[in-house]
């Protein structure tokens, strides 16, 4: 589903990703772990197409397309979802309106009919219930006045509504207490653990991986993947730290 080959990328002209290769197949859950500043968020933003994150060489194929040739909104329509480490607040724009317009823009790009207001609200309420988020919060401006944990849960609600093929979730576990961690973990499993979908979890703690069991774990350091293994690698990292393994 996702095929990254020898990816080099710069942020504000500073090289951050330095030859990263990774293949994720449908049905798989991968975790990328690594110390602060390793380039984990940079990988997510680069795949999402954020302005200022420039690919200098390498290729990324996603669901049979050249991902790097697509604009950010086209990547979303192709089935990519980026869960933000720091979800952005947008005053004055209601969550419901934003998500409904986003979903319908994606559907339009894929040649599908747009959803009616009623059908959309049903979908939104189901996703909110799955993540135990008060559906009233979806009437509020995007992420404004949400606590850290609510923002992360709202990201997962968005994922549930948009129903992507591949979700890249950047530190979804940060800022969550134990109960919210469990809810988010179960939400990710319910929405994404399917034969035709895949997940890339970015985290530097093991704790989310207790709920969302990864099939593969990779260590990112210095802009490259320096080690790959199964779920047990995450435990080794937790016990021994990154230095010992990297």
């Amino acid at each position: 589903m996702l095929h990254i080959t020898d990816l080099h990328a710069t942020v504000a002209d500073k090289p951050i990703l330095k030859g990263l290769s990774l293949t994720i197949n449908a049905g798989e859950i991968h975790a990328i772990m690594g110390p602060n500043g390793a380039g984990k968020s940079t990988l997510g933003y680069t795949l999402g197409g954020r302005p200022g994150y420039d690919v200098t060489s390498g290729t990324v194929a996603f669901a049979g397309q050249d991902l790097l040739a697509l604009a950010p909104h086209e990547r979303a329509a192709a089935g990519l979802f980026l869960g933000f480490q720091y979800p952005v607040e947008i005053p004055g724009v209601s969550m419901v309106q934003f998500l409904r317009e986003s979903l319908n823009a994606q559907r339009k790009a894929r040649g599908e009919a747009s959803l009616s207001g009623g059908a959309f609200l049903k979908l939104a309420r189901e996703a909110a219930a799955l993540l135990k988020l008060d559906p009233e919060m979806l009437k509020r401006p995007v992420n404004v006045g949400f606590s850290g944990g609510e923002k992360k849960r709202a990201e997962m609600v968005q994922m549930g509504i948009l129903d992507p093929k591949l979700a890249i979730l950047d530190e979804t576990d940060s800022g969550l207490d134990i109960d919210a961690l469990k809810v988010c973990g179960e939400g990710i499993n319910a929405i994404m653990r399917r034969p035709d979908k895949a997940v890339l979890l970015i985290t530097h703690y093991q704790r989310l991986l207790d709920y969302v069991r990864p099939d593969f774990v990779h260590v990112l350091a210095g802009g490259r993947i320096v080690r790959s293994g199964g779920a047990e690698l995450a435990r080794d990292l937790e016990d021994h730290g990154y230095e010992a393994l990297a």
Partner: protein, 240 residues
């Protein structure tokens, strides 16, 4: 007004003087709200026009004015408002322009007697080489104690060539007066735009959504809020 103004006239310093001969002469409009009464008015300016309006609010009177200035050409609305004791005046205005257009709102609000309040909210979206202006004077007359005047003026520039001029001015001759003004000129938040794009919104739709939120602050409380917003969105479509 008979003679054509020039740029030396303070209130016309940013005007599109070249557009004036075709719009001249201007017929001033006079609005009087009797003591204790309330009134509201909306101006939607969609083609070149110069409006000159004098409003007098009697003691305890209230008036709410909403403006959408999206003139294709030079669009100007000048308001001279005189407030009696305890009167209340609210202005919510949006200006939207692209190309070479000049749009402007010029106000003079005179707190002639004590305890009146005036509130002005102006939101501008400017693209191309357009210029959007706000010249606003609040005058608190001698003895008009307890006056409360506010001006909140913000502009969003969509292109490098667009410009906004905001000049709020205060002239206070009384005590115990509360007057505040704030001006800000900015661009759309890039992080917000990427966040919206990452969910599938094309650039024009993402910008429109953020600008809609920005402009909404000017239309709060209008009877025809939805109509105004729909007209504003139509004007925005041409800029995005």
């Amino acid at each position: 007004m008979t003679a054509l103004p020039t740029r030396h006239d303070e209130a016309w310093r940013y005007a599109d003087i070249a557009a004036l001969p075709a719009l001249w002469p201007i017929t001033p409009e006079v609005i009087v709200v009797a003591p204790g009464d309330s009134a509201s008015r909306t101006w939607v300016i969609e083609r070149a026009a110069v409006h000159d309006i004098a409003i007098t609010l009697g003691a305890g009177a209230q008036m709410t004015v909403h403006v959408l200035n999206a003139a294709r050409g030079y669009g100007r609305l000048a308001l001279r408002v005189t407030l009696g004791a305890g009167a209340q005046f609210d202005l919510g205005a949006a200006q939207i322009a692209g190309g070479d257009q000049t749009v402007e709102i010029v106000t003079e609000v005179i707190h002639a007697e004590p305890d009146a309040s005036s509130r002005q909210v102006v939101r501008q979206v400017l693209a191309g080489r357009a210029s959007g202006n706000y010249l606003g004077r609040v005058v608190v007359a001698r003895g008009a104690n307890g006056s409360d005047g506010s001006q909140s003026i913000r502009a969003m520039l969509l292109d490098r060539g667009a410009s906004a001029n905001a000049r709020p001015e205060l002239e206070i001759h009384a005590d115990d007066v509360k007057c505040a003004h704030g001006c800000a000129i900015g661009e759309l938040d890039a992080d917000g735009l990427f966040y919206l794009a990452s969910r599938g919104l094309p650039p024009a739709a993402a910008k429109a959504l953020m600008l809609q939120a920005f402009l909404a602050e000017a239309f709060v409380g209008a009877d025809d809020e939805a109509t105004l917003m729909a007209a504003a969105l139509t004007a925005l479509e041409d800029l995005l």
